[in-house]
Amino acid sequence: MTTYIAQRLFIFFPMLFVISFLVYSGLELSPGDAVSHMISPELASTITAEQLDAMREAYGLNQSFITRYWIWLTSMVQGDMGYSMAGGVAISTIMAKTVPATLELSLVALFFSTILGCSLGVISALKRGSGTDNSLTVAGMAGVSIPEFFFGLVAILLFAIELKWLPVGGRLMPHYETVWDRIPNIVLPSLVLALMMTAGAMRYARSSMLDVLAREFITTARSKGMPEWRVNILHGFRVALTPVVVLIGFRLPLLIGGSTIIEQVYQWPGIGSMFIRSVRGSDYPLVMTISLMYVFVVLTASLVIDVLTALIDPRVRLGKN
C-alpha cells in the first residue's frame, strides 16, 4: 500500500510542476506585461521608454523567464499568490472571499444531486425496462442536453420574476446576515446545479445497481425467502453504493465547470464568477492562479480516489506492482 501511494505521489508532484510551468509560459505569451497594466491610458502618452524600462527593472521584470518563474513558484508555495491587476488586491484576499461561497454552493448541489441521482438510478434499475425506467433515461438525456445557463435563466424567470418566491441572484442581501436569511438565495442556484448533475449520478447508480442485482448473493438472499425490499435495500443498494461514492470525486470537474457558469448566471460571488470576470478583464495573474488552484484540486481528488479505490479493492494496487 505504501509503495502504491508513493508511486501515485511520484506522478502527482511532477505533474503539478509541469502544469504550473506551462500555465506560467501561457501568461508570458499573453499581450502586455505587469507594467503596461499599471499605467493608465492618460499617462501612457507622456511616459518615455526609459521610464518604462526603469519600472520593469524595479519590479524585476527584466530578469530571465526562468528566474521569474522560479521566484513566482517559490512564493506561491509559501502562500504568497501575488496581486490581481484589477485594483491591486492580493489574490489570497480574493480567494479567502470567494472560495467559501463556491464551496457552499457546490457542497449543497453535490449533496442534492447525489441523493437524487442515486435514488432515481436505483428505482430505474429495480424497474428495468418499465415506463418509469424509460422516462427516467430520457429525462437524464435531457438533463445533459439542456445548457445549464439556459435552465438557470428559465428558473429565474419562473421562480424569481414571475412567482417572486426566491431572489434573482446574489448570496447575501445587505442587513440580512443569519443563516436563515441566506437560505432563499442558495435554493435556486444549488438546485439548478444539482439537477444538471443528477443525470450522471443516476446513470452510474443504475448500471452499478443492475450489476449487483445480477450477482449470486442476491439470488441467495431471495432464495432464503427474504422480502424483496430487504434484498434490494440491505443487500443490493449497500454494495452498489460503494462505487457511487468514488463517483462523487470523478464528478468534481463537472461540478467545477457547472458551478462556474451557474455562479455567473446567479451573480453568486464565488470563485467561478471571479474567474470569468478575470478572463474578461485580461487579469492574467488571477486567471493563472485560479486555474492552477482548480488543477490542484482535480489532481488531489484523483489521487485520493486512487488511494481509496486501492484500499477498497486490493486488485488495483497489486495489479500495478
Binding site: 501568461l27 499581450p31 438525456m141 442536453s145 445548457p147 435563466l153 485580461s282 492574467y284 486555474s291
Partner: protein, 304 residues
Amino acid sequence: MAQTSLDKKFDQIRKREEEKTFSVKKRSRIVSKFLNNRLAVVGLIIFTIIILASLFAPLLSPYDPMRVDLRSMRQAPSFDHWFGTDSTGRDVFTRVLFGGRVSIFIGLGSAILSAVVGIAVGCYAGYKGGWIDVIALRVSEIFMSFPQIILVLLLVSITGQSLFNLMAIFILTGWGGMYRLARARMLSLREEEYVQALRSFGLSTFTICYKHMLPNALSPIMVNITLSTAMFILTEAGLSFLGLGVPLNIPTWGNILNVAQDILVLQNYWWMWGPVGIVISVFVLCVNFIGDGLRDSTDPSQQG
C-alpha cells in the same frame, strides 16, 4: 424419422431461400438495429431537419441576419417575424437559422478534427508503444487535469477571441479523450492473431495500424464523435453566453442567447432567448439520442 424443431427451422429457411426473400433484406444488422431504436430515429430526423434548415437559411427567410432595422425592434413573435425581433430589429428566427450554421460547424468540425488528431496519435502510439506512447499519454494527462471549461477559458484569455482560436482550443482540449479511446482499442487489438499474421507478412507499421486495425476500432470512435459534438455545441453556447466565445458580430446560438444576461430582456422579451435555448437543447438532445443509438447498435456485447 420424426421431424425435430431444427428440421422445421431448416425447412423454413429453405422455403424462404426459394422464394428469394433473403435478397430483399440487404440492410446490415447495425443499420436495422439503429432503425429499431425509436428515439435514435426521431433524433436523426430532427437533426437532419435542423441542419437542412440552417443550410438553406437564405431560402427560408427573407431577412438578413445582420441588418439592423430600428423601426421594428423588440417585436413579439408574429406572422412576419416567427421568433420576433431583437433590440436592434433583427429577425430572431433568421438569426437562429444562420447561428445554427456556425454553432453546428464549430461543434461537428471540432469533434471530427479532434478525432482525427486523437486517432492519428492514438493508433500509432497504441500499436507501437514505447517512448512515443509514454509521452503522448503524459501530455494527454496534462490536458485532462484541467476541468474542461477552465482550460478553455484559460486558453481564450491567452489567445484572444475568434472563431478560429475557439476551434483550435476545442481541438486542443478534445483530442485527449479520443486518443485514449483509440489507444485502448489498439492495445487490445494488438494481440489479435490477424495482426500477428500481417506483421509476419512484413507489412509496414503504418499499413497495419491505419489500414487494418483502425477500421476495427471505428465504431466506439464514431459514438465518441457524436457525443463530443454535443459537448462542443454546449461549450460554445456557454462561452458565447458569457461573451467569451465567438466574437459577438458573428451570429451563433450562444451569441443570440447572450442578450438574456440583461434582466430586462430576460423579464420582458422572452422570444429573444427562449426559442433559441429550446433549439440548442433539442438539437443537442437529438445528437445524444443518435450517439446512444449508435452505441447500442454497434456494441458487440449487446448484439443478440
